[in-house]
Symmetry: C2
Subunit: 240 residues, 2 copies
Amino acid sequence: MESGLALPRTTFQRQVLDRLGLDICSGRYAPGQILPSENELCERFAFSRIVIREAVKSLAAKGMLEVRRKVGTLVLEPAEWNLFDPDIITWRSRTLSVDRQMSRDLMELRRIVEPAAARLAAVRAGDDDRGAIRAAFEAMRRAVAGEGDYVAADLAFHAAILDACGNQFVQQMQNAVSAILRTGFEIISQKPGGPAYSLPMHEDLCRAIEDGDADAAERAVLSLIKQAEEDLDGRLKSEE
Amino acid sequence: MESGLALPRTTFQRQVLDRLGLDICSGRYAPGQILPSENELCERFAFSRIVIREAVKSLAAKGMLEVRRKVGTLVLEPAEWNLFDPDIITWRSRTLSVDRQMSRDLMELRRIVEPAAARLAAVRAGDDDRGAIRAAFEAMRRAVAGEGDYVAADLAFHAAILDACGNQFVQQMQNAVSAILRTGFEIISQKPGGPAYSLPMHEDLCRAIEDGDADAAERAVLSLIKQAEEDLDGRLKSEE
């Protein structure tokens, strides 16, 4: 089959897709607006019509654009977008520090999903899952001691828990939860002593899952979220 | 712009998309398999190559297929699929009665999302939201008395609560939650006296949101879910 244009596979297509996606998320092309014509976009990006067209198709498949005959390409409202699409989450997370509504909604999503995932992981995690959670925790401990990347290890730790919960829908929320985690972690890791402070809470969570103790796992994750909310609030207030 | 093929817009394209999507979800074309060639699919569906190709592109954008040069079109594992895509949920819900894993995961998702949504709705619902929830409840009451469709009213009731919670990510889970609700409701509404039995629990939930009482809203929704789980378990056991 030669329908190799189904997904952007060349660097050019990826570049145009990312730039258009970011432009929509940042409001340069806002919901309710008509996108510039294919010719104008060709000029702006200095890419061929086919590259532009494939990017528009991808954005339409993600629910961000609707091609209307004789009218043009309409930017749809965010409620129409596929909000759990990994690309959309990546693009929107760049606007997280200014999009208070999205910050709040993601933090709420974290509070809904992570305690439930920790409870399920405590009950269901197999040996491989427990090993992955423990390995990520040990990487966090080494990062606090100065060796390795703290944010990457922290993300891997939370991702391993969502993975261990064994529910396909919860696992797929991982990208969305990671977006708010990443923002939060960047704040915490900039705070002197922040990682060292939250390390024991992570150890509690790791141990609760190893012990198969769902109540303790939920308590530990709620302490972590409370701390992250306070840090994020402090940061947002300091920006006001 | 003439890139009008971004989404299937003709009846033909929709037909092929739905049939291929269903065939993948039902396992006719299982994960790990190579899809029949474009020529074979053209013959099977008696549609043109362009219609087949656009359906394949849509399925690729949803994460169900990957077009590999010289190899063919690979059916990906469900973990790669966009599980919150409304089309994928519709196709998969046709296999709900046989896919125990998906039934279990959706019921768990309901237990995670709905209590949180009810709490948020109790705090945030505006007058319009409360009106929509109350109107859906009154339609349920009329349906129990023999006037109108009970399942449709019940779905509208739960959708209105997710809508009132004001969190964009929770709102977007509505399709997934509706799939398990629909299956559950069909069971309950077949059970003699089922709708009449669960009506007071719905009234408790409606009233708790009207009163702005988050704890009472959570309690009411947990009673409803417990009842639905028992009904679903009973049905699944009777099928074994």
